[in-house]
């Protein structure tokens, strides 16, 4: 009986070998996948053992912080500034994905980033759990509040919109918000059922409050597109602001085919010609449709791309973090003269994000140099040492300085004498452009305003305000809100 007993011994060895191989698979090969599995509550528990870092605004106001609790998860996330900042700051729920800065800078806030390695080594010796690092944003509370409250209290009763304010010289994002928004606090409740219900409520609410419309979606830019057409015309060298261009009340790019281009009112530009400056000031559709067709699709698309259209890679956090992308803007199909004419006045298939539109205003104010927009100013270690500061970076130079100067004059004319008068700020040189985007049959038009404010030839702020389906007068209301946002930015920079 010894031979079969030995063979039973071999069978036992094989059984144990199977166990060993399988354990290696589970604890070795699959370890990382299991560790980070969404059903794994352990990682979460250990994450909540450490006080998560704070998110602070430019003036030091706390937008997100963790407070000690007595339950299993040691720290409760809180967002004292609420809805106005919810989409930018984001939220970090107990289960499910984080959003906004909470997601983009998660490693740093959680204290697990490589740059906080020395902190963790210190922990090994002291036995403490040092809090995660703090993220200092470029967002200015006054500007952001002006933007959010401006949108909320708009006189057109619009419930959906977005606003962006940039520092044209650096690309710092001073305000970034959209309505409707949501209170992030219920979404991060440690009671996951309540948090889930709050999420479902926010996710299914009208107007998609969870979406940061300023960067997350694209809309027909309407007459704000005329700035790009003007830039293309001026850059071609064949036009100056004083060059007369054909206008009239109706224009058919291909006679007998498609809808003719008309103007917003028969009094806008009935004359046979008017200067480029005058055309922009009154927002003459026929003139710009014609101008676009004259320039040709290539010049229009190349200028749009020079400003950042079709760029799907732009992100707005620190350096190369991919988690807060800006939706790419598109010129759409320009293959046909009718399409090109419609697109030249920002209709047909042209789609632009409010952020892209703000960037165009900022580029013009900054003498043709487009700065990369960014939200994260500094990363701060738990001991308050600054670990890194985001350096402003030139993104593109779509237009020459003299073209930028000409465009500035034209946009100032819009605010002084044209459709953007609501944005005027006494004592400051303010330029802008409005837009009223047709948005399908029967629906109310979107209202747009892009603009900037300068003093002593130095740009201070550039803005974009977007009011979804605002109807008649929407662009004038957008200009008013834009003016207030710029006013807030100016008051932050002091009277000089």
């Amino acid at each position: 009986m010894n031979a079969p007993l030995r063979r039973v011994g071999v069978v036992v060895l094989i059984l144990f070998a199977l166990l060993f191989i399988n354990l290696n698979w589970v604890q070795g090969y699959k370890a990382n996948a299991y560790r980070n599995d969404p059903h794994n509550g352990r990682v979460l528990l250990s994450e909540y053992q450490r006080e998560r870092g704070r998110i602070l605004l430019a003036g030091g106001e706390v937008a997100a912080q963790s407070v000690a609790t007595t339950d299993n998860l040691k720290y409760q996330r809180r967002y004292p500034l609420g809805a106005a900042y919810a989409q930018v700051v984001g939220y970090k729920p107990v289960t499910g994905a984080a959003t906004g800065i909470e997601r983009a800078e998660n490693d740093f806030l959680a204290g697990t980033a490589d740059s906080l390695f020395t902190e963790r080594v210190k922990d090994l010796f002291t036995g403490n759990r040092t809090p995660g690092g703090n993220v200092l944003l470029t967002i200015d509370k006054k500007v952001q509040d002006a933007a959010y409250n401006g949108l909320l209290t708009n006189q057109k009763g619009v419930t959906s919109g977005a606003a962006v304010a940039l520092d044209p010289k650096t690309g710092k994002i001073l305000a970034l918000t959209s309505i409707p928004s949501f209170d992030p606090n219920p979404l991060v409740s440690h009671d996951t059922t309540a948090a889930g219900a709050a999420y479902t409520r926010a996710n299914s609410a009208a107007g998609n409050p969870l979406l940061l419309k300023a960067t997350g979606d694209v809309y027909p830019p309407a007459s704000t597109m005329k700035v790009i057409i003007s830039a293309a015309a001026l850059s071609s060298g064949q036009y100056t602001p004083q060059t007369p261009i054909p206008a009239t009340n109706s224009y058919s790019p291909i006679p007998g085919s498609g809808h003719p281009i008309t103007n917003s009112s028969p009094n806008t530009c009935p004359q046979p010609t008017l200067t480029l400056l005058e055309a922009l000031t009154v927002s003459c559709n026929t003139a710009f449709a014609r101008l676009g067709v004259t320039l040709g699709a290539d010049q229009v698309t190349s200028m749009a791309q020079a400003f950042g259209f079709e760029d799907g890679g732009l992100t707005i956090t620190g350096t190369d973090n991919q988690s807060m992308p800006v939706a790419a803007s598109h010129t759409g199909d320009l293959s046909d003269k009718n399409f090109l004419a419609q697109s030249s006045i920002g209709q047909y298939n042209v789609r632009e994000s409010p952020m892209q539109n703000a960037l165009i205003a900022a580029t013009i104010a900054n003498g043709g140099v487009q700065m990369r927009p960014y939200l994260v100013d500094k990363l701060q270690a738990p001991d308050l040492n600054i670990i890194s500061t985001t350096q402003p970076k030139t993104l593109r130079t779509p237009i020459q300085p003299q073209v930028a100067a000409q465009l500035q004059d034209m946009m100032v004319s819009v605010v002084q004498n044209g459709t953007g008068q609501n944005a005027q700020i006494p004592g400051y040189r303010v330029g802008g452009k409005t837009g009223t985007a047709q948005n399908g049959e029967g629906a109310d038009a979107h209202g747009w305003f892009i603009g900037w404010a300068m003093k002593d030839n130095q740009p201070i702020v550039a803005v974009c305000v977007f009011l979804q389906q605002a109807g008649p007068g929407g662009s004038a209301e957008a200009a008013r809100i834009g003016g207030n946002i710029m006013q807030a930015a100016i008051s932050e920079k002091g009277p000089n």
């Binding site: 009986m1 010894n2 031979a3 079969p4 007993l5 030995r6 039973v8 011994g9 069978v11 036992v12 060895l13 059984l15 144990f16 199977l18 166990l19 060993f20 399988n22 354990l23 290696n24 589970v26 604890q27 070795g28 699959k30 370890a31 990382n32 996948a33 299991y34 560790r35 599995d37 059903h39 794994n40 509550g41 352990r42 990682v43 528990l45 036995g127």
Partner: protein, 489 residues
């Protein structure tokens, strides 16, 4: 073949009876103390991990354990002086780590501030410690009563009958007296519950060993040759079919694949060892896999009593299925996630979150420990189990009588199978079953049964290594194949 010709590792050539054989008891003591040092370090690490410091009386539970195991060691010195020296230390290490881990779970349930003051005499850890004392006492009593393992063969039919009754009791009892978490494996009276299957295992095995020693000639010689393999006659298949039916009944009525696999594997293995016929293995494996396959298909189509098994197969195939992951598959998923989180080195004793896995104190204790001691720790733990099994098989090879060979071999293999079924279950190698992890899971029945198993192996290994004083052929041949059941102790 007689037993006397078959003792390649017998320390003393039979005949030269008076030469001194080392008992190896001091080696056992040394190994035992080493094991207890490990248990003590583990307990200290647990306290450090859970409370951030080691309390001044952390050594109380490990010391009590050490004392209890020392008593067991002394009993071994007196009762089985020639027993294999590795068996008791292996058992003590596993049992000690088990008790310490249960205490770790107790501490983990306390609010952080009160952990440092948690009594050494409370909770599941202390409960398990009490069971350890009882189990060791029972094992010692068994060693006192059974001075020669061949005594068991005298009562083989009684033991076998008792075993079958124990298996059947939970099946016939109404669910509220026998069912816990879907498996009808228990006898529950008041607050007290035992798992009779754990003991039935030992009793049935004693019977198998006796029966097969008697029948081995018939079973191995009377055969038909088909395709170069000797197959038994149809009428000799009777007992195999009876056991097969019994284990399938366990699978269906008691809803437990593990126990079923255990009985059947145990029987087929002893049958194979007794007859040395591969055909029995083939028949056994075909019957078992055919049976489980059928049960799975029936579970999917007919449902009813087979549904439970089918459900377990479904969980096994894809525990992360969205329909299962938070319901019936939750346990296995959490087990895998815990093991994965532990990774190679583990989170450290007391630092993980084993309580995330439901039933971590009994069925899933291996996953709970695995999260904290990692792949390397688990590998070490499994090696301790393997050493125990291989020492058992070694005992089977060394012992002189056929009954002892079959009994020791069967015990060792059954133990190995139980470890395989349990560890394989919680690591998704095979469908999950309701087995306990020997010596570690919380629960008196399992602990007591496994200590009895260890005692039986100690007893047989003592007889294997004991120098032969009287004429070696006095007792053994009588048992082998003869009709008489009289065996002199």
């Amino acid at each position: 073949m007689t037993a006397a010709t078959e003792q390649p590792v017998s320390p003393v050539p039979s005949g030269s009876a008076q030469r001194r054989v080392p008992t190896r008891r001091n080696a056992e003591l040394l190994l035992l103390l080493l094991a207890m040092v490990l248990v003590t370090v583990f307990s200290a690490a647990v306290e450090e991990g859970l409370t951030g410091g080691v309390s001044p009386d952390f050594w109380v539970p490990p010391l009590l354990l050490t004392l209890v195991f020392l008593v067991a060691h002394i009993a071994v010195r007196i009762l089985t002086p020639y027993a294999d020296p590795a068996i008791l230390p292996c058992v003590a290490l596993l049992n000690g780590i088990g008790v310490s881990f249960l205490r770790r779970l107790d501490l983990g349930r306390q609010p952080a501030a009160q952990r440092a003051n948690y009594s050494s005499f409370a909770g599941d850890g202390f409960h398990q410690f009490t069971w350890t004392i009882i189990a060791i006492v029972v094992a010692i009593v068994a060693l006192v009563i059974i001075r020669d393992h061949r005594t068991l063969s005298r009562y083989a039919y009684t033991l076998g009958f008792a075993g079958i009754v124990l298996v059947l009791i939970p099946a016939v009892l109404p669910g509220r007296f026998s069912e816990i978490n879907g498996a009808k494996l228990w006898i529950r009276v008041g607050g007290f519950q035992i798992q009779p299957g754990e003991f039935a295992k030992l009793l049935l095995l004693s019977f198998f060993a006796y029966y097969l020693v008697r029948k081995r000639e018939v079973l191995s010689l009377a055969s038909k040759r088909i395709l170069g393999i000797d197959f038994p006659r149809a009428r000799d298949l009777g007992p195999v079919l009876v056991v097969w039916g019994l284990s399938l009944m366990v699978l269906v009525v008691e809803k437990d694949l593990g126990t079923s696999l255990m009985y059947f594997g145990m029987f087929v293995a002893t049958l194979y060892v007794a007859t040395e016929r591969v055909s029995w293995l083939i028949i056994g494996l075909l019957l078992f896999f055919g049976g489980t396959f059928l049960a799975n298909v029936l579970g999917a189509t007919v449902g009813g009593p087979f549904a439970n098994f089918h459900q377990r197969v479904e969980i096994w195939l894809n525990p992360f299925d969205p329909k299962l992951v938070n319901t019936t598959g939750y346990q296995l998923v959490q087990s895998l996630l815990g093991l994965g989180t532990g990774g190679l080195f583990g989170s450290g004793p007391g630092v993980g979150n084993p309580s995330k896995v439901p039933f971590v104190k009994n069925d899933f204790i291996f996953a709970g420990i695995g999260e904290e001691i990692g792949l390397f720790g688990l590998t070490a733990l499994l090696l301790v189990y393997l050493v125990f099994v291989e020492r058992g098989l070694r005992t089977a090879i060394a012992v002189r009588d056929s009954f002892g060979k079959l009994l020791a071999g069967g015990l060792a293999f059954t133990f190995a199978l139980q470890v395989f079924v349990m560890v394989g279950g919680v690591t998704k190698l095979i469908p999950l079953t309701g087995q306990t992890t020997p010596f570690m899971s919380a629960g008196g029945s399992s602990l007591m049964a496994n200590w009895l198993l260890a005692a039986m192996i100690l007893r047989i290994s003592d007889s294997a290594r004991r120098p032969v004083v009287e004429a070696p052929a006095a007792a053994a041949p009588k048992l082998s194949g003869l009709a008489t059941e009289v065996v002199r102790p």
